[in-house]
């Protein structure tokens, strides 16, 4: 009995630890004071200022475009990789695909910066997308691979028995069954891209600021509660995305 109470208290405390900081951010986004120190009054003005902030809006747009393209590209490449890894179990492919996932972000960012510079590539949205795809492929591949592992091979056998070619059975049986896994992987890639800071920090160019970079620069320089407002909005957006994802395919959340 006592043990249970201890466990329960510990659990509640950890949950509180997880949520209180975020609640503080949200709370102060409505605070009528430039300081994030004490509650002065309720206001929406920071949200108003946010929507007038052209740089922020531009950064948000950049983030969306980059994340979409990155999700599509890594979705394609990651699916191919995931299927290959599951079917053929090539160790070298796994190492290549999962390498960027295992490495600390800073190493990916820094090595790509080096390469882009040595090849005289002008940094911009393209360089960011290329960088994001390199670490997103692994996540899509993992999602696809685990989905394949849970798939019923007898369906494929049946298709083969009925005379379908390998390509037909892939297109008409495997792919549709894989689709939830692919979509889950792409949504993961999308979120990783929108949220990414470190890799983007090193590979961004002129006029291609993303939302996290903009927030970083606001946190370092300006620090008005506009940052709180944009943070709250981002959290709400992610909440909506997650709810959609969980309605859409609950088990992909687990992977």
């Amino acid at each position: 009995m006592k043990n249970n109470k201890l466990l329960l208290t510990a659990t509640v405390l950890v949950y509180l630890f997880l949520y209180i900081p975020l609640l503080v951010v949200m709370l102060f986004s409505f605070n009528d004071s430039r300081l994030n120190a004490e509650w002065v009054g309720f206001t929406f003005k920071w949200y108003g200022q946010l929507f007038g902030n052209a740089e922020m809006l531009r950064a948000a747009l950049n983030s969306l475009i980059i994340a979409s393209v990155s999700a599509l590209l890594s979705g394609t490449l990651g699916t191919l990789a995931g299927v290959a890894m599951h079917r053929f179990r090539q160790k070298w492919l796994s190492a290549l695909v999962l390498g960027p996932v295992a490495m600390p972000d800073i190493l990916i960012g820094v090595s790509l910066l080096l390469m882009f510079m040595l090849f005289n590539v002008t940094l911009g949205a393209t360089s960011i997308i290329l960088a994001h795809v390199s670490f997103s492929i692994g996540f899509v591949a993992l999602a696809v691979q685990s989905r394949m592992a849970g798939m019923d091979d007898s369906l494929l056998e049946a298709a083969r028995d009925l005379g379908a070619t390998p390509w037909q059975s892939f297109r008409l049986v495997t792919l549709p069954l894989l689709l939830p896994g692919i979509v889950a992987g792409m949504m993961m890639a999308f979120t990783l891209s929108i949220d990414d800071f470190v890799v983007t920090f090193f590979t961004a160019g002129v006029g291609s600021t993303t939302l996290p970079l903009e927030i970083y620069s606001m946190v370092k320089i300006a620090v008005t509660p506009e940052v709180n407002a944009v943070s709250t909005l981002l959290m709400l957006l992610t909440l909506v995305l997650i709810t959609a994802l969980s309605r859409f395919s609950p088990q992909t959340l687990r992977s």
């Binding site: 475009i65 599509l72 510079m117 002008t122 792409m186 002129v206 006029g207 370092k220 320089i221 300006a222």
Partner: protein, 357 residues
């Protein structure tokens, strides 16, 4: 599921077109943060019927890193004089088309045709600042400390009283220059032993400092988190104004240390790879018009190399010696000259060690 994919494609497609439309008339400005007034930018946007997109940096090293790491297609950059010299040497800058810059005649002769850019082939002066001490007047007077002396950030005996309440610039050139001045050497002294002595001074004081900060120290001073900050005169001017506006129970002030300090002359340049050089020239000419140049002093709190602008600058700002230094003070001020690569690397190593120890 297919719908979702379709949606993503549509979003990517439509949003992809939007920036293309906006790319028509945009000026990309790379400037120190808090170094141009919003009013000035708005007025320029109206005049040129274009958009101004600003990116910021808070140290010369940061700016150089960004420019040289493939970020060279800004339209206008505002580097300090030593950086101009380095950029010219690397053929990074476009020669200015003087025919488009009629307002050039407004500039004070004393700031033109300097050694770092003879004949102003590549740059035109923008503003100048001094690097000095900003402080919380109430607290520092309470403690009986003299802020007009570099010892306020370097002497452990003084730092003892303000431990954890001091920030210094996260800039190797500025901090080393301050330490050299404190030791009585020139800021441009390249003697390796002198530089090592400066490093020793910095390392001894480091445990008392709260942070290396070149960007948000204005806010830290204004809010009262920090009582002493090493930074630019224009930033301190804004901190003082902010503190007054926020009705704090203390005031912020700034002062040039007695041992001398660094004077930085910032310039407008156009990189070779600039996307819109015509717009860039328009902006430079705009900034040399007296009313616009004056706003740099009146709102941002910078020193002004524009002779015609003097008529438009508030008297009380002209009177601030930290912003517009007197003749005697000018004698103690130095501009940092461009370093040779060997010296640069030596200081850079010392600086890395400072951060790591």
């Amino acid at each position: 599921m297919k719908k979702l994919l379709g949606c993503l494609l549509v979003i990517a497609g439509t949003t992809g077109l939007a920036p293309l439309a906006a790319a028509d008339k945009v000026l990309h400005l790379f400037n120190w943060n808090d170094y141009i007034a919003d009013e000035t930018v708005t007025r320029f946007q109206k005049q040129c019927n274009c958009k101004v997109v600003q990116d910021y940096f808070s140290s010369t090293e940061e700016m150089m890193a960004k420019l040289l790491a493939g970020g060279g297609d800004y339209d206008v950059v505002i580097p300090t004089q030593n950086a101009v010299e380095a950029l010219v040497k690397q053929n990074f800058l476009m020669a200015l088309d003087k025919s488009k810059l009629g307002n050039m005649t407004n500039m004070a002769a004393g700031f033109m045709n300097k050694a770092y850019d003879p004949g102003n082939a590549y740059s035109l002066p923008y503003a100048f600042t001094t690097t000095l001490i900003g402080y919380n007047e109430s607290r520092i007077t309470e403690l009986g400390i003299d802020p007009a002396d570099w010892s306020i950030i370097f002497d452990p005996a003084v730092l003892e009283k303000i431990k954890g309440k001091v920030t210094v610039m996260d800039d190797s050139e500025e901090l080393f220059a301050a330490a050299m001045k404190y030791l009585g050497y020139s800021a441009n002294d390249t003697n390796e032993q002198h530089l090592k002595d400066a490093q020793a001074v910095i390392l001894k004081a480091k445990p008392y400092w709260a942070a290396f900060n070149s960007s948000s120290y204005i806010k830290e001073l204004t809010v009262g988190n920090v009582w002493v900050a090493h930074g630019y005169s224009s930033d301190m001017f804004q901190a003082r104004a902010d503190a007054k506006e926020a009705n704090r129970d203390f005031s912020v002030n700034f002062v040039l240390p007695a041992q001398g300090a660094v004077l930085a002359l910032d310039n407008m340049v156009v990189p070779n790879k600039a996307r819109n050089p015509i717009l860039a020239h328009e902006f430079i000419n705009f900034m040399m018009a007296p009313e616009n140049a004056a706003e740099l002093s009146n709102i941002v709190g910078t020193g002004n190399p524009n002779a015609s602008a003097k008529a438009y600058i508030d008297d009380e700002i002209l009177a601030i010696s930290a912003i517009f230094p007197s003749q005697e003070q000018l004698a103690t001020l130095e501009t940092i000259s461009a370093r040779k690569s060997k010296e640069r690397r030596f200081i850079s190593r010392l600086w890395t060690e400072v951060k790591v120890r």
